[in-house]
């Protein structure tokens, strides 16, 4: 008898406490609960691209009123369409983050047409007004700012004036990084060249290691990359006593001696903007871009090898980027076949759509498309 009473009392007290707490929590009172879905094309822990997204998703999970559902290794086939639909139907997701570039056309577009009440915030795509549904948005970060700063530091530190870049495929996002890295280095020393090796796919550990070794053998003494997981590259370079600049996330722990700095994503910024807009019922953010200034990307802390002069120069450039008046791609700019690709007097700001269609390697890059 008394046992039951006591249990009832505890229950009642708990309910009372919960009820009392609610009105004093302004977040809960003002916003509705929301379920957010994340889809990754690879494994969540790949030390690279997918991990940078998953880590930000973990931060979104901590936002009050947000439930997160995740699915990894979703191929860019009908599987991703069905996975998004399942999140909507089975989990009640009202905001979806499909994080791989290849999801956008046709998969996100197809599903978005059928579920007009759901928001689709795609990473990397190029949303166009009138062409794409209004419940779809695309966001991306100007990580070439980070690669430019990588280049500045590498330009100071390189003794051989030869830099190496291991790239997956010759697509605009990758080319922009290669070019920014090279321009950054050549802003320090115009004689510097960057050798680029394309591996052909996003995750080819043996090829990436082999490419790194080949670059080092041909005299490169600072290496960076644009592949899904830079781990192999950074470790291989460290073993051979060569300096590296990171990408996607910080690989400083993998190369305590040779890691100079790195270009890192900070996806939590665009994620939170989208989640807040969805919770407050504000209109869909269709086009969202940002760089260092907006907090979409960040740089790794300088490694022990970086000289004071390099730090000073890089910090100065970074300060200009943070104030928003630094132009990476300004005319006159030649490609590596000597043709002018940006005319004298033309400055492309980071937001310029022309830069998202880049199909050339700038002067100073040794490599073929």
């Amino acid at each position: 008898m008394s046992h039951i009473n006591r249990r009832n009392f505890i229950k009642a007290a708990g309910l009372l406490g919960a009820a009392a707490a609610l009105p004093f929590n302004p977040l809960r009172a003002a916003q509705k609960e929301i379920t957010v879905g994340f889809l990754y094309v690879g494994a969540r822990d790949d030390f690279g691209y997918n991990q940078s997204h998953a880590e930000a998703a973990a931060l979104v999970k901590k936002m009050p009123g947000v439930t997160v559902v995740e699915q990894e290794n979703v191929p860019e086939t009908v599987a991703v369409q069905r996975a998004m639909e399942a999140m909507i139907r089975q989990d009640g997701a009202s905001l979806i983050f499909p994080t791989s570039f290849g999801y956008f056309d046709p998969h996100v577009l197809k599903v978005a047409q059928r579920f007009s009440d759901t928001r689709f915030a795609h990473c990397g795509g190029l949303w166009e007004k009138g062409k794409h549904p209004m419940n779809v948005g695309s966001f991306f970060g100007y990580i070439d700012e980070g690669q430019y700063l990588n280049g500045v530091v590498a330009g100071h530190m390189s003794k051989s004036a030869k830099l190496g870049f291991v790239a997956a495929k010759p697509i605009p996002q990758v080319l922009r990084n290669i070019n920014a890295f090279t321009l950054g280095a050549r802003s320090v020393n115009p004689d510097i060249t960057t050798s680029v090796i394309f591996t052909g796919d996003w995750s080819m550990p043996v090829k990436e290691a082999e490419a790194t070794n080949s670059l080092i053998d041909s005299g490169c003494d600072v290496i960076t990359c644009h592949v899904d997981g830079p781990k192999v590259l950074v470790e291989t370079a460290e073993k051979r006593g060569v300096m590296t600049c990171g990408y996607h996330a910080s690989q400083a722990a993998l190369a305590p001696e040779g890691y100079l700095t790195g270009a890192e994503w900070n996806w939590v910024t665009p994620y939170q903007e989208h989640v807040k807009a969805a919770m407050n019922g504000e209109p869909m953010i269709n086009f969202l871009r940002g760089g260092l200034k907006e907090g979409f990307v960040k740089t790794s802390p300088y490694g022990p090898a970086v000289s004071a002069e390099a730090k000073k120069n890089a910090d100065a450039v970074k300060a200009k980027m943070l104030s928003g008046d630094y132009v990476i791609f300004g005319g006159p700019l030649k490609n590596n076949r000597g043709e002018v690709v940006i005319a004298d007097g033309t400055d492309y700001k980071q937001t310029a759509v022309e830069l998202e269609r880049m199909d050339y390697l700038v002067e100073g890059v040794r490599g073929q498309l």
Binding site: T77, R82, A86, R89, F101, L126, I171, P172
Partner: protein, 373 residues
């Protein structure tokens, strides 16, 4: 003594016994594995079923994934009728997809139907030629078709990647190198809004049924059974062995090529590397699990599609890694293949049952399941 109808039912059910045992063992092993890993095993089982077959959406999800598997499984099952083991369906699929994607570029503008037919023919030709090459190399040069088709498949993938990301790339496909997108009129839609599965499913089922009619009732199909049974007999009978073998390879390759065409025109809208997603390899398992029976392929493809469809639910509800589905598929196919060993016994049991329980055995029942592998 038991009633005759019970005996007859047992005779009919016996061929399914290895499959049922395989599924039972799979369930036990899978749950055991999850228990050892201290994962929520008891919730996982029902979730697999719910995700695969538990709702209309689950069925759509399952069938959509099953559609290409039916066609790629035929690429294994048809040559298997002639005694060949072809494992290069992936290459035929991507080349078929590529052929379908470039057909509208190289032909003048046509109305939708003629163009779709042209795309289908191009895809089937590409796939058929590729697998046909494996068959030809075997018959004419003595190159083993299993390894030959595997090598040719790798070569096809390299050619495909090179063309799609190089000479045939649409300059406007920025960060996802693809061939130029298909005109929306040339894209294949879904069956209906209330049954959201693309027409590839119908193509897959029809192809399997046609293949069944072909191997079961046509003279060629009968000849194939002789060719597949023994290498010497057909030559003594004067059967055109080379032509028969080649025919099955071309037909099988055409099926895989058609799968590529549906991937392009019903899913992707252009040819790109997303086409390389393992449908060909999965088709091998489907074909073997179905013992190369075309109608069995439909069932097995749906089963495998269901497992893949349920993987997402396991990830999202229980936080299990994506690899759980791989393990489940692995255990299932290991069991399906292993329990196949029982099928010789079931034949004996059937004969015994028929002798003891059923007074007058029907004359045609004896041939139904001697579908050899």
């Amino acid at each position: 003594m038991l009633k005759p109808w019970l005996g007859r039912a047992a005779v009919l059910a016996l061929p399914a016994l290895p499959t049922l045992l395989a599924m039972l063992t799979t369930a036990v092993l899978f749950i055991l594995f999850l228990l050892i890993q201290e994962q929520p095993a008891w919730q996982a089982g029902p979730l697999v079923f719910e995700g695969a077959f538990g709702s209309m959406f689950a069925w759509e999800n399952t069938l959509m994934r099953a559609a290409p598997l039916m066609l790629t499984a035929l690429c294994v099952a048809l040559p298997a009728r002639a005694g060949l083991i072809i494992i290069g369906g992936e290459g035929a699929l991507v080349l078929g997809g590529l052929a379908a994607a470039v057909t509208p570029l190289w032909l003048p503008a046509l109305p939708a139907w003629p163009m779709l037919i042209a795309m289908g023919v191009a895809a089937m030709l590409a796939g058929g030629l590729w697998i046909g090459l494996s068959g030809w190399l075997r018959q004419k040069r003595g190159v083993n078709e299993t390894i030959g088709s595997l090598l040719l498949s790798y070569i096809a993938l390299a050619i495909f990647r090179h063309l799609v990301e190089g000479p045939l790339r649409d300059p406007n496909s920025l960060n996802k190198p693809s061939t130029p997108p298909l005109d929306s009129g040339y894209q294949i839609g879904v069956i209906s809004d209330s049954f959201y599965v693309h027409w590839g499913l119908v193509a897959g089922v029809v192809a399997c049924v046609l293949a069944w009619v072909f191997v079961r009732y046509s003279v060629v199909g009968f000849s194939l059974r002789i060719v597949g049974g023994n290498p010497r007999t057909p030559r003594m009978l004067g059967l055109p062995v080379d032509r028969l073998v080649l025919l099955t390879c071309v037909l099988g390759g055409a099926a895989a090529g058609l799968a590529g065409m549906y991937e392009v025109s019903a899913v992707q809208g252009s040819a790109n590397t997303a086409l390389i997603s393992g449908y060909g390899t999965a088709g091998i398992l489907v074909a073997f699990a179905a013992r190369h029976h075309p109608l069995g392929i439909i069932v097995c493809a749906i089963l495998l599609g269901g497992l893949e469809a349920s993987g997402g639910l396991l990830q999202r509800r229980l936080g299990l890694p994506d690899a759980t589905t791989l393990i489940l598929q692995g255990i299932l196919f290991i069991n399906l293949l292993a329990w196949e060993a029982l099928s010789r016994r079931t034949l004996d049991w059937r004969l015994w049952l028929r002798g003891h329980w059923i007074a007058a055995p029907s004359s045609r029942a004896g041939t139904t399941e001697v579908s050899h592998g």
